[in-house]
């Protein structure tokens, strides 16, 4: 042991090695453990003397052991720095046989007596628990929003319908003030109906979404344009649509995404008829889509606000809608593990950018 230290490590390295906040162990080409730090002893429950000199497979659950030698050999053959990326969940086995969820970063070292692999190991049990808990509570919240808004619709429809029926049946028989009261009651109920319906749409993105499958963005945009034929004709909008790729998406949601962005381009138009360009560029293993218009544009200081639910930049009545469209768009993009942002100049136009995965991307659960 002590000889090992003197041979392999200088004092500073030893200090760092022992003081590291995570477990570190070193193995040789034959997969024998040659070094382990204090954190490593604690993590796996072995004393240094028990584990050094043993095959590393001792620390791997039996069900996963068979493939490990091949992984080690592959790494020694092509030893590239492999940082912990937060994406890989691996398992270790303690002395008492229990399993521990871990994450591993690998680096390679050439020493006088050969090549060694240094593994940094973090216990992610707590992180995994918090992640699972967060996932569960998000799902619950979504379900809550869905049920709440769905069940709110019925009584609300009764309030709105009967107030309106009262207005219909007694038109002309009530004084002006009574008619005004009815108007405000109906108007309020209808606005709330719209909000509840929007909330339902928003919560459905998460709770009712389908699987991500290869989808032709070209075909989806084509369908959206035929759905919007009316407003497109009314606004005399023109479209330029570059070749669009096949991406990994939930098809109805991708349609909703394009429909909301295109509707926005038509709605917030300037003096001239709307001109909309839709393109996609391949960048860093993603597709970056852009939807550009020549509309009103906005100050970039509002860029974050417009993606929030029920946020509107214009006074009520100027433009229809409750301000749910872009919140839904953002939610859809995020559900597709993408990102959305925009560039805008007042009076010139707005370009929305969002990323989607190419159809051949691996879909980790």
């Amino acid at each position: 042991m002590t000889d090992d230290w003197q041979r392999r490590a200088e004092q500073p390295f030893r200090l760092v090695f022992e003081a590291a906040p995570y477990a570190i162990l070193m193995i040789d080409r034959a997969r024998t453990i040659t070094l382990i730090n204090r954190q490593g002893e604690q993590l796996f429950g072995y004393g240094r003397d028990e584990i050094v000199g043993q095959p590393v497979e001792l620390l791997i659950p039996e069900r996963l052991r068979a493939h490990h030698p091949a992984h080690v050999a592959a790494y020694f053959a092509e030893p590239r720095e492999r940082p912990m990326d937060g994406g890989r969940e691996l398992f270790g086995q303690r002395k008492d046989g229990s399993e521990v969820a871990i994450e591993i970063g690998l680096s390679s070292m050439e020493l006088p007596d050969g090549r060694f692999t240094l593994a940094s190991i973090v216990d992610i049990t707590e992180r995994k628990r918090i992640k699972d808990e967060l996932h569960r509570s998000n799902a619950e919240l979504e379900q809550f929003a869905y049920i709440a808004s769905h069940d709110l619709q019925e009584p609300l429809r009764m309030v709105a319908s009967f107030t309106e029926l009262l207005g219909q049946r007694y038109r002309g028989k009530l004084d002006e003030r009574a008619e005004k009261y009815i108007f405000y009651a109906v108007d309020g109920a209808k606005r709330m109906q719209q909000l509840v319906a929007d909330l339902l749409t928003y919560s459905r993105v998460g709770s009712q979404g389908g699987p991500l499958l290869p989808v032709s963005a070209d075909a989806v945009v084509g369908r959206v344009l035929s759905t919007l034929a009316g407003p497109i004709r009314d606004t005399q909008a023109g479209f330029g649509i570059g070749p669009l790729p096949t991406v990994l998406a939930d098809e109805p949601q991708l349609g909703q995404l394009f429909q909301n962005l295109i509707s926005n381009a038509l709605k917030f138009r300037g003096e001239a008829p709307p001109r909309v360009r839709i393109d996609a560029q391949h960048k860093d293993d993603r597709w970056v889509f852009s939807v550009a218009d020549n509309g009103l544009g906005m100050e970039m200081q509002y860029a974050d606000r417009i993606f929030q639910m029920f946020q509107r930049l214009h006074e009520r009545g100027k433009f229809e809608g409750s301000g749910i469209g872009l919140a839904v768009v953002k939610r859809i993009v995020e559900r597709h593990r993408g990102r959305i942002w925009l560039e805008s100049t007042p009076g010139v136009g707005t370009t929305f950018y969002f990323t989607l995965l190419p159809s051949r991307a691996r879909t980790a659960a």
Binding site: R157, M158, A160, S161, E164, L165, K190, A197
Partner: protein, 141 residues
């Protein structure tokens, strides 16, 4: 042709039943509207049993799906089992727009499926359209 057309509304929400009755009664047709508050009540009606032994068979049924005691689909399945009742046209009028509800309804022998609009005027025009189509245009058995 002066005997009224018998319509059975199967609807657990008294508000909706009232809205439908209100709309239907403003039509020119002579209608006899009966409301059943759930699937079991509706079944008693069409099978002329229990409290409804003296009831006359409806000529059109307007059926909600989410009903207490017996779901609309179950009622529909029961209805289609009885020979003299198989021919009664059934219009589904529900707030559900779930694909599964739609498909299941037609499989079980619904004649058409309509969702309740949120807006009163739209609701009224839908009820009038159902009435116009099924009670004026269509020849019923």
């Amino acid at each position: 042709m002066t005997s009224p057309i018998r319509v059975l509304l199967v609807e657990d929400n008294p508000g909706d039943a009232e809205l439908m009755r209100d709309t239907l009664e403003s039509s020119k047709l002579l209608l006899e509207i009966t409301v059943a508050v759930d699937g079991v009540d509706a079944l008693d009606h069409v099978l002329q049993r229990g409290a409804h032994a003296a009831a006359l068979r409806p000529e059109l049924i307007i059926l909600d799906l989410n009903l207490p005691r017996m779901h609309g689909h179950q009622f529909l399945a029961e209805l289609r089992k009885h020979e003299p009742l198989r021919a009664i046209p059934v219009v589904i009028l529900t707030s559900s727009d779930a694909e599964k509800d739609i498909v299941d309804s037609y499989r079980l022998g619904a004649n058409c499926y309509v969702t309740k609009p949120m807006d009163l005027v739209a609701f009224q025009s839908i009820v009038r359209a159902v009435e116009g189509f099924w009670l004026t245009i269509v020849k019923l058995p």
